[in-house]
C-alpha cells in the first residue's frame, strides 16, 4: 500500500478500494460494513430493515451546468439509499464552510437542496455548520447522511447477481463527468451538456413495482460504469459481459473523450443506475424504467455469466472480447 494519501485515494477506483479494504474495514470490522454495498443494511429487532448511508461532497467547481454541490449531495445520498431498494426518508446535512464564502452562494446551494428534498419527499432533520479559516476548505464541503426503510420482499445487493441476469443502464453515460470537465478545462459545447444529477427514488420505486426480483442496483458515480460493474462482479463472484455498441453515450461526450483521450466507461454519473435483473423480469423492469422521466434512455447492455469470475468483459464493436478493468488512479480532479 502507498505510504501517503494521494488524490487518487478519493476518486473511487482501485486506490480507494484498497484504502477501504486494508485500513478501514479491518479496524471497523463488523458484518454490516463488510458487505460494502452503497448503504449499510441494518436489521432491527422488529424485523424492519433500515438502510443507512453517508457521503461527503468536495466537488470543485461548486456550481456546474445542471447542478451544484447541494444538488449533488442530496441526490447522492438519496440515490445511495435507493440503490439498496430503500425508500429514503430522513437526511442530515453538515456544512464545513470556508471563511469569506459568499452568503448568496450558500443560499443558492440551500435552495438547490430544498428542490431535491421536495421532489423526493425526504426530510432534512439534522444538521451542523462549521466555519474554517481561509484556504482550509474549497469554498464549502458538504456531508449528507441518510436513512431509509427497505420494504418487505426487497433484497438488493451487489452480491446477488446470478448467471443469466440481464444488465441494464437507465440512460447515457458520462454526462456528469464531462459537464464537470467542461467547467474545469474551459471547453465549449455546441449544445448545452449538463450534469445528469437527479434523485432516483421515484425511478427505483417504479422498478420495484414492476418486479421485486431485482438483484442489484447501483449508481455508477466515481470511477464510472467500469468500476461499478467490477465491484458487483467481485461481490457476486460472477462475470459481467457487456457489449460496446449497446453502451449509450451522447455524441458530445464521445467527442470530448476522443479529444482528451478519456474512456466514457470511467466517467462519473449522478443520475443514472445500473440494474441487474433475472431474464424473466427484464422486459417488465425495462418498460417501467423507460416509463419514468429519469429512465427514458434505458437499455440492456449485457448479461451476467459465470466463466470469468469477478471480471468484467466487453465485446468490442469488432466482435472480439476484452477486459474492462476498475479505474486506477485519479481520473478527473475531484468530481463529487
Amino acid at each position: 500500500m502507498q505510504d501517503r494519501i494521494l488524490l487518487a485515494h478519493g476518486s473511487g477506483g482501485r486506490l480507494s478500494h484498497d484504502l477501504i479494504e486494508k485500513l478501514f474495514l479491518p479496524h471497523f470490522d463488523n458484518p454490516i460494513l463488510a458487505r460494502l454495498d452503497d448503504s449499510a443494511l441494518i436489521e432491527l429487532e422488529t424485523g424492519a430493515r433500515l438502510a443507512f448511508t453517508t457521503d461527503s461532497y468536495v466537488v470543485s467547481p461548486l456550481f456546474f451546468p445542471g447542478g451544484d454541490i447541494g444538488k449533488l449531495a442530496t441526490c447522492g445520498t438519496i440515490n445511495d439509499l435507493s440503490m439498496s431498494g430503500a425508500k429514503p426518508l430522513y437526511m442530515s446535512a453538515s456544512f464545513i464552510i470556508e471563511e469569506g464564502f459568499p452568503l448568496a452562494d450558500l443560499k443558492r446551494i440551500v435552495l438547490s437542496m430544498r428542490k431535491v428534498v421536495e421532489e423526493s419527499g425526504v426530510k432534512i432533520v439534522a444538521g451542523d455548520t462549521k466555519v474554517v479559516g481561509e484556504g482550509a476548505a474549497d469554498g464549502i464541503f458538504v456531508n449528507t447522511t441518510g436513512v431509509g426503510l427497505i420494504p418487505e420482499g426487497v433484497h438488493i445487493s451487489g452480491a446477488n447477481a446470478q448467471p443469466g441476469d440481464m444488465i441494464m443502464v437507465s440512460g447515457t453515460l458520462g454526462d456528469h463527468g464531462i459537464a464537470i470537465m467542461n467547467q474545469r478545462e474551459g471547453l465549449e459545447f455546441a449544445s448545452s451538456l449538463e450534469s445528469d444529477c437527479a434523485p432516483l427514488q421515484g425511478l427505483v420505486a417504479q422498478m420495484l413495482e414492476a418486479s421485486l426480483e431485482i438483484h442489484c442496483l447501483r449508481d455508477p458515480t466515481r470511477g464510472g460504469l467500469a468500476t461499478t460493474l467490477n465491484e458487483m462482479a467481485a461481490q457476486s463472484q460472477a462475470t459481467f459481459l457487456i457489449e460496446e455498441e449497446k453502451v449509450p453515450v451522447r455524441d458530445e461526450v464521445r467527442g470530448v473523450c476522443e479529444l482528451l483521450g478519456l474512456d466514457p466507461l470511467y466517467l462519473a454519473n449522478e443520475g443514472k443506475l445500473v440494474a441487474v435483473v433475472p431474464p424473466h423480469a427484464a422486459d417488465g423492469v425495462l418498460e417501467a424504467m423507460r416509463g419514468h422521466p429519469y429512465g427514458k434512455g434505458s437499455v440492456v447492455i449485457g448479461q451476467v455469466l459465470s466463466d470469468h469470475p469477478c471480471r468484467v468483459v466487453m465485446k468490442t464493436t469488432l466482435g472480439a472480447h476484452r477486459l474492462v478493468e476498475m479505474a486506477v488512479g485519479e481520473l478527473l480532479p475531484r468530481i463529487c
Binding site: L187, E188, F189, A190, S191, L193, D251, E252, V253, R254, G255, V256, E258, L259, G261, G319
Partner: protein
C-alpha cells in the same frame, strides 16, 4: 502521445481556429498547417493541428474497403 483526433474547422482568426468534434468546440493552433481553411478537417495533437485530412483519400480508402468486404459473403461469426 500519438493521439491525434480529426476535428472540423469552424472559424479561423490568425493562427487560431475553433474546431469542432462531436459537438464539442475547442480552440487550437494552425501554425503547422497554414494552408488549412474553414470546412477542412484537421488532425489535432496536444492543441495543434498537424495535418489536414485529405477527404478524397479518406473516401477512396473506404471505397476500397467496401469493395473488399463485398468479395466475402456475409457469415455469422
Amino acid at each position: 502521445m500519438c493521439l491525434a483526433i480529426p476535428a472540423l474547422i469552424r472559424s479561423i482568426e490568425g493562427y487560431r481556429a475553433e474546431v469542432e468534434i462531436g459537438g464539442v468546440k475547442r480552440v487550437v493552433g494552425l501554425q503547422l498547417v497554414p494552408q488549412a481553411k474553414i470546412g477542412d478537417y484537421v488532425l489535432i495533437h496536444t492543441g495543434y493541428a498537424i495535418s489536414v485530412v485529405d477527404e478524397e483519400e479518406a473516401q477512396e480508402t473506404l471505397r476500397l474497403l467496401a469493395e473488399l468486404a463485398e468479395t466475402y459473403p456475409d457469415e455469422i461469426p
